[in-house]
């Protein structure tokens, strides 16, 4: 039963979401609602924007995982505990900075383009992953850790076999939050020539074409749901 649900989770739901996306593309390309929107709503262009968007999200999220996870582990070590508390508070405050501001700041220092957009997204998605990694590891019961230590497990094994597996649900929660936020924030990348579905949305706002706004918004929503679903599947698989 569990096996079957897993297989269904990897196939049916993603296929359904892909079908939703495909239908959205088809619908808006066939009904662009005027010549202006039709200039953007052509198949090669929409696919290019989706590719750019996925790329922005995937690259920035992978980089964020690659940095925030080790960092979160580091600050959860007993000798950095005070640092951990500091980081936790800083992160909570930093999270209130609007994503557009992060993007604007990144632009000021790094100029325009895909790399800057990735950098800004990376900055912004570091925080939830870092916080959840720290919180997840700290949530492991002290008696479990003491049992592990008392039995002679090395610190590395305690981390790898006890702390990380037990913290996985919380860490994955952070990663999923980060990725979903990233899909939304990536629509802002268009302001600094980062491409992505934001091209459709922002152009749509500029020239008042609802079709453009809807196409961009629906596609990024579908993308967010798809990525979130895949991550939850991965969590069930590896967790």
């Amino acid at each position: 039963m569990r096996q079957r649900n897993r297989v269904l989770g990897w196939t049916v739901m993603p296929l359904f979401l892909l079908a939703c996306g495909a239908f959205t593309i088809y619908y808006f390309v066939e009904n662009p609602g005027g010549a202006m929107a039709a200039r953007l709503l052509i198949y090669p262009n929409v696919f290019k924007l989706i590719q750019q968007h996925v790329l922005l999200v995937v690259v920035s999220s992978l980089l964020a995982i690659a940095t925030a996870l080790p960092l979160g582990i580091l600050i959860s070590r007993p000798r950095f505990r005070t640092l951990g508390l500091v980081v936790e508070n800083v992160v909570n405050v930093a999270q209130t900075v609007p994503s557009l501001a992060v993007l604007a700041l990144a632009f000021t220092f790094l100029g325009w383009g895909f790399n800057t957009a990735v950098f800004a997204l990376w900055c912004y998605s570091l925080l939830p992953i870092l916080r959840n990694t720290y919180a997840g590891i700290r949530s492991v019961s002290p008696s479990i850790l003491e049992a592990a230590r008392g039995m002679g497990m090395t610190p590395g094994h305690i981390l790898g076999r006890i702390e990380l597996p037990l913290a996985t649900p919380i860490i994955m929660g952070g990663i999923r939050t980060a990725v979903v936020i990233n899909v939304g924030t990536a629509t802002l990348a268009t302001f600094i020539a980062g491409g992505g579905l934001g091209d459709l949305i922002v152009t749509g706002i500029g020239v008042r074409r609802t079709e453009l706004i809807l196409a961009g918004a629906i596609l990024s929503a579908v993308l967010a749901i798809l990525l979130d679903h895949l991550l939850s599947q991965a969590e069930a698989e590896f967790g």
Binding site: M36, Q51, W112, G113, F191, I192, G206, V207, F238
Partner: protein, 309 residues
């Protein structure tokens, strides 16, 4: 089981690297054009521009309007769009290409005065009408640049320029006439133009009520129509399309001025004084050195160079 997991992870990483590889390709193409979102789709924007001049950019990158100047300056694109009198054009070493086929609608600004006020003080026509003809595109770019890039006060910039043109005296006389209420919209160029009106009128012995910095065309225009202000600088193209509600843009400066001033006088009792030489419309820009090296001065040149590759 474990082996299969590692395989899955390897697959994700490989796919990502492949995606990154594909994504990086776009910037290598030769004629990439940086544009803001609106210009990329509007009928008086990029699509018809390419039709009229008969060429095609290799690729188009969309970004915020403010970003196009920097992208061009840094050399990541060879051509970009902007607004013709933006201060960055000079500061960044960029050059406007001549719209030799008069594709873009014209947006020459001119002081618009209520006919009632002009009836009372006919000398205003000469006072304000003297400013416009001396303002060409390069001058306006420079004045905008002094405020936007070098951070000078717009009033100071306006005053300095009027003084340099001998349009005002260093010390204004005591105001005995008026009062005249001067308005403007809220962006740099408008603030400078508004300040010029204020100083020129004060120099002629008017008491001036400074109402500059109004939020947008709608507010400024209705303030003028209802007599809350007596004059402000409006662009011919904007008045034609927005205030007078026409659909088809006009692409010749003189024609636009004639049509707008005639209609506004008749319908709204507003008088358009002599218009400025500069035209704050969309522009296609290149880096100056690059344009010179390639012998490009107009959009037709650009089209030719792109097509002859």
């Amino acid at each position: 089981m474990r082996k299969y997991h590692w395989l899955a992870i390897a697959l994700v990483v490989a796919l990502t690297l492949a995606l990154v590889g594909c994504g990086g390709g776009a910037a290598d193409e030769e004629w990439v054009f940086a544009t803001d979102h609106e210009f990329s789709v509007r009928p008086d924007g990029l699509p018809d521009l390419q039709n009229v001049y008969g060429f095609q950019f290799d690729d188009v990158i969309t970004m915020d309007l403010g970003v196009t100047y920097g992208a061009l300056k840094e050399g990541q694109v060879p051509a970009a769009m902007g607004f013709a009198t933006d201060g960055r054009i000079k500061a960044f070493g960029l050059v406007n290409l001549v719209d030799d086929k008069q594709f873009f609608p014209v947006y020459n600004p001119a002081p618009v005065v209520r006919a009632e006020v002009l009836g009372e003080y006919p000398e205003i026509e000469e006072i304000l009408g003297a400013i416009g003809p001396r303002l060409d595109t390069d001058t306006m770019i420079e004045l905008n640049g002094l405020v936007d890039i070098e951070g000078q006060d717009h009033k100071q910039v306006a005053k300095d320029w009027l003084l340099s043109q001998n349009l005002i005296d260093p010390e204004a006389p005591e105001g005995t006439k008026g009062p005249i209420k001067v308005g403007s919209k809220e962006f740099t160029e408008q603030l400078i133009l508004g300040a010029m009106s204020v100083f020129a009128l004060e120099n002629a012995g008017f008491t001036v009520v400074d109402q500059t910095g109004l939020q947008g065309t709608e507010v400024a225009r209705s303030a003028l129509e209802e007599g809350e202000i007596d004059t402000y600088w409006e662009y011919t193209g904007t008045a034609w399309l927005v205030a007078l509600g026409h659909e088809e843009p006009i692409t010749d400066s003189e024609e636009a001025f004639q049509k707008v001033s005639a209609e506004d006088l008749e319908k709204n009792e507003l008088v358009w004084l002599d218009y400025a030489q500069f035209d704050n419309t969309y522009t296609i820009m290149m880096r100056q050195a690059d344009a010179e090296a390639k012998g490009i001065t107009s959009i037709s040149d650009l089209a030719r160079v792109i097509n002859e590759r």
